[in-house]
Symmetry: C2
Subunit: 170 residues, 2 copies
DNA sequence: AATACACATTTGTATATACAAATAAAAAAA
DNA sequence: TTTTTTTATTTGTATATACAAATGTGTATT
């Protein structure tokens, strides 16, 4: 009697989209879009591209973007511990789950968490030496990431770009 | 013996951020940021503001942004059914879960799904009358949404904005 | 025709996120 | 001082998302 061995093939079907395509082509729209609609889509797609690019950088460090963000906030405290609500208000996207985020960082020994002696409701979260080292490793890659996109524009264009982004969302 | 009734108070602690703040103030950065860093943050934050604004519009219709996106893609087919991979490639964010997304729309009777007679591997997904009606209700609100942000800029600025966004992400 | 390969979609699982409610401590009011 | 209100954080639960693997069908090769 023979046992049939079923081979398993896995394919990575990458739906490749070159980022310099017009937004209409990316979403394969059949109609031409007006400027207002294009702007909304362009903002969303730019975020997608930037975020994806940075996620690739973080992957080898086993950090989610939010975890990285919290570490950076903690480093910004320069030794002073931060409590949960401070962390939350400094995050770009205010997730309601700072607790579980810090839990993950604790498991990786990148932060410490203690009850605040002055106010026992509060928590004191601090970045560890190990956490600082991880950030130090990421730092140059993060700068590279920012400059990678910035270099697509001249410095004058970049200024205008920042101003328009601020004006647009205001 | 008395039973103590514990009253429950729930507070909505909204961390209010006015969208016209500088990105440094929003993330409460202690250091001034260079243009490249600001650009990355501004793109991310602009997306957040735009997305949040649109989510508020969708809330009463009990649709997630992705579900809405799929419905729009199906309407764009103009009667011709779309199969799963067509839907997937037209979505802005290519989630690997078109199946479960369509499941949700099926439950709400906004779409139909049938096995393609020509190729039994494929599915034929179509928007229903009910789905079209929901979209028709959302349409004016979506246009308002796009114009709400676009109106912050002059039409010349909006053109530049779109071009810079395309250039930046390319 | 049998086997290998390719394609289209689904399912499993682990993790992330959103939102409401619970818990616990401090501050304010009665 | 007891009760109420506010603040700070955590927990429960439902849903979303990411990624790998599985399933089922069609096409190509031997």
């Amino acid at each position: 009697m023979y046992i049939q061995i079923k081979k398993v093939y896995t394919f990575v079907r990458t739906n490749f989209v070159t980022t310099n395509m017009k937004i209409e082509d990316i979403i394969k729209s059949t109609v031409t879009l007006n400027a207002a609609k294009r702007a909304v889509l362009n903002v969303m797609f730019a975020d997608l591209v930037v975020t994806d690019h940075f996620n690739e950088i973080l992957k080898p460090f086993d950090l989610s973007p939010e975890q990285y963000n919290v570490l950076r906030i903690l480093r910004g405290q320069k030794g002073k511990p931060a409590n949960m609500c401070t962390i939350q208000e400094r995050m770009i996207a205010k997730t309601s789950n700072t607790t579980r985020l810090v839990d993950k960082l604790l498991l990786k020994e990148l932060v410490t968490r203690e009850v605040c002696p002055d106010n026992r409701r509060k928590m004191e979260v601090e970045i560890t030496e190990k956490g600082l080292n991880v950030l130090a490793e990421i730092d140059p890659k993060a700068i590279e990431h920012e400059n990678y996109f910035a270099s697509k524009l001249t410095s004058e264009e970049l200024e205008i770009f920042n101003n328009l982004l601020e004006k647009y969302r205001s």
